[in-house]
Each structure stands twice: as structure tokens, then as C-alpha cells.
Symmetry: C2
Subunit: 498 residues, 2 copies
């Protein structure tokens, strides 16, 4: 037993404690759970199988929810002509600084024997940072009359935004996402779609990722480049910082006008369509990690975990091995077939201690330990990842127990996160309070704001806190702007953000 | 009735007949089935929802089959440093001529007010044409000892190969694919994996796409750049041309040596791993289209069709509409719930004729027509897409009938394609016969070949026919090379190819 403990300590030391260095803790959790590997291309991600499996689960669930709203998947080119990007002025201003530009279409050996770019393109192409422009160019052909509306398209794709300061999952040069793009006959319908989709994201985050989020509207300064306005879901991380985990944009007619996306309405008049776009990316995995994980590593909510239950057989002799493995297989089959779980049996040679800690670091919600003594007692040991609580469970009760336990873990993680957010949300009324709070421990600062961009900018400059959103369910309240003291009609959420 | 016929003719005229212009027919089928749209970026594809739905079905089925072989999905960066590509000499020689090169990381307004590339990269990056180099750079870190082997990784991704002459699905600048990459401790195991995976593709093509294929080995001239050898599945299109629909490469130790992918074997010695890579791309959709479609448009095998059955309600009065719709819904529910089919009810206003032809052009395997008279007779009209045969079926028999019919269609399409291939496969023994056959009607020419690259090249030069493969199940047969007359130990498949 002593040896295992020693091993444990060694393994655990690989993860920095949150209190010590939150940023390093985050990187350690990712590495020790084998989610990502360092990429030789700056700012890009190598998603290892276990990390990618989380994305596959997100895709599967979200894809079904998006299809339920009537959207269909399609695929548009990776490369966008520079001229397309230029058509919507705000859009190009927002993305020009971070575009990967393709200028040549082959490599050639030069006079010095070096391989250099050759075959220069007449017009440079940009790797899509988002697909509004390339899609809407085509939407203009697809849409002729009101009968073609609404047009509801979704795309699962990779995009590239050249970021100077990157952080795994949260801000990367290349990332994976889905981007939905819709066109409607009326403003009201487009606004409804904008809200419907941010609602889909909220429900997904809360029910599957156990991630309480605040749904609201972004300020002009924080909206998507080219949108009329942007809505987002904002989550609070364990260091009190905010993280935007999904956005839905009301694009108005800005792109419709730039790309001549018009339709003949029922009265026979040519009108511009009203549009929305909305997306969730691999960034949400970063939020998932930061929200629930602890000093022992990753913690995954059961509804999103690629592996729900890991069974660790413990044995010494060959005979024990055979018996224990047989029982493990039986339990695994029952859990898979009767309650539809994904179960992994760790059949590798080696002592159980390091295995326990490996699966703990990978955040598997439930661990079942089974050894010769358990067999004799007709029971197993069940350990939940979120609280580390151990229980002895009779074989006959395993299915029911595990099912109930997974529900409990899911609920517990959500509740814990919600309580954390409540405990770190502050009503702030004066500039002094604001400065103190933002320095002390972060969190969400609910403060009156006059609505002027200059106050927003000054506050950001002086404190690094930005307005995360004007929450939809915030009571309208008359007060005085926390910065300038002018009349304010709303209390907005300020926070430092990822 | 007359009007509908007129409409029909108009609609059908949109598809060129195969006998008239096979290439135009192919493009017409794609356009009329709404599979693709023209891309503003030369050689790229816009996959419309119905076209992408076919890819989604392929992905779902193939992904499960790949996972059954033990492979796990991962994701590697889109961008590859130029220096990586250069590490394997044959590989870079094969891909340098068709690389999209990223040289800058932003766009900037210049002195003339024009938006131009800025922020030149120190080292150009290439958009992956395939991912051997970027993956194996990382595999070198993942693999330390024989315990880490075999390593079985798959990736679903987009790739870019700058093609000068493109054709929708078959040869495009950007395409979607899966690429599997494995590393093994022994040559034998890697060779086994190479064969296993081409076998997975063969089975997939035959069982789901109803596409008979010949499995074999490529010649040196036709192998993948960097492989020891390449295996492929080759299908015969309706114009007698061959189409390579999937490949599996035995990479030997070429990349292992270039990227230092080594492991400590059981004896404690450092060894290079043995590797394979294998892929199927959106190109296979082109093969699917060309293999089964007819002069009326797309024909899809039931096992891959995104919609198995389309129900067309026929009505005049409102009362009829209500009754017919209710019955259509009932049939649809039964087919979906009891035999797991995807059913579409065409609820749109408008005459049935144009709807019939629209769904015919989309290749939906079975159409059910239901109107007031059918309701009165407690029956429906069932039409199969492959033969256009109509039958009246009693309501009570619909489920059984449709299930049987779909099986029949699947089998029929496979058999038809197989017979077509047999009828267009010729044993050729002399150069005269060869020249005549290749000019006359194409097809697969089984001819003795001495094994020399120069004969292969000369034949290609003079006839445009290439060696598709040395089929695995071809009897070894001593003969004389069809070109040079020297001793030949094998009869290989020559054909013009896509």
C-alpha cells in the first residue's frame, strides 16, 4: 500500500495546484488528461484521441439539436477571395489583422536549391476566419423568392484566425466549430432565430456541460464585426474570470446589402433578407475544463464524458485475474446494454494505484474497483470523481447505483458551479467598490453603466474588466453609471475575461 | 395529365443523355440533384445540404467501421511547416507542385488604399495536402516502446491539392476525407494493416455503395509519394473508365526514418516503426454518382441514400388534402419506427408531376404516391427508382413491401454494376488488340505486362490507358508483355481512368 501512495504523490505533483498558479494548472490538466499535444505550428492544436472524443460528443449532441431547429448541414470552401472579405466594411476591419493569406499555389526549387513558394495567385485567398462572405455570395443565388425562406444552413468546419497570444482550446490560430447561417423574410423572424439559437446553446451548456451561463446582449464594442448586435452565453471560471462560450449574431441586412441577397416578397417586391449567424467552437472544451476540474485533474460531467465508467480489476494470481476479469466484463456488459453507458475496463498489467490516478486525471465520472475480496463479498467499490467518495455496492445493485450516481454527479457539478457564480457575483454601485472588487478576486461585477462607449473603454483601460453582456433576465434598474455618474438604465456584467 | 407530361419533358431536358455527352450528363446529374453548387474559388466545392447529407452517411458508416479496427479519431493542424514536407524526399517531390502556400498572416491597407498581404511568415506554411509529415513528427513523441504500439489514428479533415484541371467530387482543390495513420512494431503487422484497411473499403463500397471494386496493388509509377507500395480499390464507371475510390499505403520505414519515429523493442533495442496510411474522400461520391445514375438523374443505393422513401400526397380539395396527409403521416411513422427508414413527405403545394421528377432526379430509392382513390382502395402506388417499375400495394403490406423492395434495389444495383464490369472486361494478348480495345469502348483490359516502368509509360503515352492495379485475386499467369513482348508473370488491369 505504501508504494502506491508514493506513486500517487509523484503523479499528483505533475498537476500544479489552482491556488498556486491557475494558468499552469489549466495547462497541466490538459496535458495529464492527454487532451492536447504541443503543435509544431504556433498556436495550433493537436487534439489527441481523448480530447477529440469530447469534441465528437459535443458534435453529436449539438448537431442533433441544431437539426431539430430545421437547419441542414452543408460545406463551403476553406478559401475565401480577398475581394469577398472586403465587401462588408466592418467585417473586413474586424478580421483583416488576423488572416492567414494564401499567395502561391506550389513550391519550387530555386537557383540556390531551396524550396520556395511559386505560382503566385492573381488574387490572394484567405483561409476562412468565418464563412459569412463565402456563404452569402452563394445564398444570393439560392434565394429568389419568399418561398426560399427561411434558409437555415449549418457547417462543421475548421477556421483560422491568426492570434498572437494563444492558449490551448481558448484561443488558438486554428479551431474547430459549427457555424450556422440563416436568412429570413423579416427582421422579427431573424431576431427570433438569433434568440432561439443562443437559447439552444444555453440549454446545451447547462444540461450537458453542467455549465451555468448567463445569456445576454453584447455591447457595440464587443459585438461581431458586421453584426447589428451579438448575443452570447457567458460562464464564470474558477478564477472568477468570464468566458464567452457561444455567440449568436443578428446580422440585420448588412451582409445582405453587401452581397445582394434579395428576395421577391409576397407582394412582388424585391427586398433584402434579414440574417443571423451563430457558433460554438472547441473553445467550449476549455470552458468545460476550467469550470469543473480540480487539483487532481480533469472532471467531466457524465452527460459529456466519452467514458462514463472505468472498471479497474485488481488481482495478484492468474486465477484471480481470470475471475476478476470475467466479473468486470459482466458488469461492463450490463452497464452498456441496460443503461447505455460507455464503459472502459483497464485490462493493462501493473498496480492499480497508478491506474486510479490516471483515470482520475482523465475525469471519468465513476470508477469501479473490483478484486478477489470484492468477488467473495459479492460487491464492488464505487468511487465518484467529483467528491472522491467511496462506497461498497452489492453486485445486484450496481446498475441502479451507477445510474443514480451519474445523475447526482451531473446535478452536483452544475449546482456547485452555480453556487460558485452566485458567491462571486457582486452588486457594485461606486467606482471605488468597482476598483476594489476587480482587484480582490474578480468575479462578475453587476454595475450600472450609462451606455456610452467611452466609459466602457476607460473602465477596460483602467481595470481590464470588460462588459460581458447586458443579461436578458436582469431587472431594468435606474441608477448612476459606475464610471461617469450619469444616468444609467441598466446594470451590466463587468468581468475580466478569457 | 397532358400538362404534367409537358412539364416532365421540360424538366428531363435539363439532363443531357449519357450517350450524347457523358461528361455533361455527370455535371447535369449533380446540378439537378442539388448536390453541389459552383464555387467562386476555382476548383473548390460548395456541398449543398443534399450532397453533404450523402457525405454525412458515408462518414457515419465508415467511422464506425474504422473504429471497429481499433483506430481512434484525432485532429492535427491544417497548416504544415514547409520544412516538414521536405523531410521525405519522394513525398515532397510528389506534393510540391500542388501546395497552397500561406506566406502572410494579415491583410493591411497599403499606400494606394488597397488591401494587401502583410506580416510575412518566417517560414511559409502549406495547407495539408495529406498529413503524414505533421502527424509523424508527433508520433515520434507518442511512441517510446513496443508497449505504445500499434498506434492507430484516424482523422476526418479537409485537405487542399492545387489541381489545374478539376471535376466536381472527382478532382477538386479542396476535398474532405478521412486519413488513417498507423505505426507498428513489425513489417508483417503493417502489411496486414494495409490489407485490412483496403478490405474495409472494399466491403464498404460493395455493401453500402453497391459498388463492385477490384482490390489490388498499384505499380511504382502510380503509388503514393513516399510509400513502399499502394493498394487501391478500383471501380468501373458507365463509360468504361476506371475510378480509384480508396487507397491504403504500406509506408514501410520511409517516414519513420525521416521523422525519427523509433521504439524500444522487447529486446531493448531501438527500432524504426513500420507505418501505413489509408484514405477515402468525397471523390467516392463522384464514383457513386457515375456508377448508378441514369438519364433521369441520380440513382442512390438504399444503404447510402439520405432519404429512403419519399411520399407524395396527391389531392385537389381541402378535405382530400387533410385525409391524404393524415394517411401519409401514418405510413411515414410506420416506416420510420418499424423499419428505421428515413422518410420524407413532400407537403408542398403544386402538382405531383414536377415533384415526381424532382425526387427522381434526387435518386430517392422508393416513391410512394397516395391520393383519394388510393385511400378509397386502401392501397398506395409504389415506384422504385432503379427500374421505374410501379406497383399497387395494399396499405397493410406497405412495411414488408418497402423493406423487401429496398433490399432488391440494393442487390439489383450491385448486380447491374457487376455485370456491366464483366461485360466490359477484356482479355487482351496483343498490342493490336490492345489499341483496338482502348479506342473502341474502354473498359478494363486484362493484359500481360513485363513489369518494366518504360512499357507502362509508353502505353500511357500512346493510349492514355494506365495500369489500374495488379489485382489480388488475379491468377498468376505466364505470358508475353503486351507492349514489348518480354516475359510477363502477371496480367494487369489497364484502363483509362478518372
Amino acid at each position: 500500500m505504501k508504494k502506491i501512495t508514493e506513486q500517487t504523490e509523484t503523479k499528483r505533483e505533475k498537476i500544479t495546484k489552482r491556488a498556486e498558479d491557475y494558468s499552469r494548472w489549466y495547462l497541466d490538466v490538459i496535458r495529464e488528461a492527454s487532451l492536447l499535444d504541443d503543435s509544431p505550428v504556433k498556436g495550433c492544436m493537436i487534439m489527441r484521441p481523448y480530447g477529440y472524443a469530447i469534441w465528437e460528443k459535443i458534435q453529436k449532441i449539438l448537431d442533433a439539436k441544431i437539426k431539430e431547429t430545421g437547419a441542414e448541414n452543408a460545406y463551403f470552401p476553406l478559401l475565401i477571395p480577398k475581394s469577398f472579405l472586403e465587401k462588408e466594411a466592418e467585417h473586413v476591419a474586424g478580421f483583416a489583422k488576423e488572416c492567414a493569406v494564401v499567395t502561391h499555389h506550389r513550391l519550387e526549387v530555386n537557383a540556390k536549391g531551396k524550396l520556395v513558394p511559386a505560382g503566385e495567385l492573381e488574387e490572394p485567398l484567405v483561409i476562412r476566419p468565418t464563412s459569412e462572405t463565402i456563404m452569402y455570395h452563394t445564398f444570393a443565388n439560392w434565394i429568389q423568392s419568399y418561398r426560399d425562406l427561411p434558409l437555415l444552413i449549418n457547417q462543421w468546419a475548421n477556421v483560422v484566425r491568426w492570434e498572437m497570444r494563444t492558449r490551448p482550446f481558448l484561443r488558438t490560430t486554428e479551431f474547430l466549430w459549427q457555424e450556422g447561417h440563416t436568412a429570413h423574410a423579416s427582421q422579427a423572424e431573424a431576431e427570433q432565430k438569433t434568440l432561439q439559437m443562443i437559447g439552444v446553446y444555453q440549454k446545451f451548456a447547462e444540461e450537458f456541460l453542467a455549465m451555468p451561463v448567463i445569456c445576454g446582449k453584447k455591447t457595440e464594442a464587443e459585438k461581431f464585426a458586421g453584426a447589428d448586435y451579438t448575443t452570447s452565453i457567458e460562464a464564470m471560471m474558477q478564477d472568477g474570470k468570464a468566458l464567452q462560450a457561444g455567440t449568436s449574431h443578428m446580422l440585420g441586412q448588412n451582409f445582405a446589402k453587401a452581397f445582394a441577397v434579395k428576395f421577391l416578397d409576397q407582394a412582388g417586391e424585391q427586398k433584402y433578407v434579414w440574417q443571423t449567424s451563430w457558433g460554438v467552437s472547441t473553445r467550449i472544451i476549455g470552458a468545460l475544463i476550467m469550470m469543473h476540474s480540480d487539483d487532481n485533474g480533469l472532471v467531466l460531467p457524465p452527460n459529456i464524458a466519452p467514458i462514463s465508467v472505468v472498471i479497474i480489476p485488481v488481482w495478484v494470481t492468474d486465477e484471480e485475474r481470470i475471475n476478476v476479469f470475467a466479473k468486470a466484463e459482466e458488469i461492463s456488459q450490463a452497464l452498456q446494454q441496460q443503461i447505455g453507458l460507455t464503459v472502459k475496463i483497464d485490462t493493462r498489467e501493473g498496480r492499480p494505484g497508478p491506474k486510479f490516478f490516471e483515470w482520475e486525471k482523465k475525469g471519468v465520472p465513476v470508477r469501479i474497483e473490483i478484486g478477489p475480496k470484492d468477488l467473495a463479498n459479492d460487491s464492488v467499490v464505487v468511487v465518484r470523481r467529483d467528491t472522491s467518495k467511496k462506497e461498497t455496492v452489492l453486485m445486484a445493485d450496481i446498475n441502479d447505483h451507477v445510474k443514480k450516481l451519474l445523475d447526482e454527479i451531473q446535478t452536483n457539478l452544475f449546482q456547485k458551479a452555480l453556487e460558485f457564480r452566485k458567491a462571486h457575483t457582486y452588486n457594485i454601485n461606486t467606482w471605488e467598490e468597482f476598483q476594489k472588487a476587480v482587484k480582490a478576486e474578480g468575479g462578475f461585477l453587476l454595475a450600472p453603466w450609462c451606455g456610452q462607449a467611452k466609459c466602457e473603454e476607460k473602465i477596460k483601460e483602467e481595470t481590464k474588466a470588460t462588459i460581458r453582456c447586458l443579461a436578458f433576465d436582469q431587472p431594468q434598474e435606474v441608477g448612476k453609471c459606475v464610471y461617469c455618474g450619469e444616468k444609467s438604465e441598466t446594470r451590466v456584467i463587468f468581468a475580466k475575461a478569457y
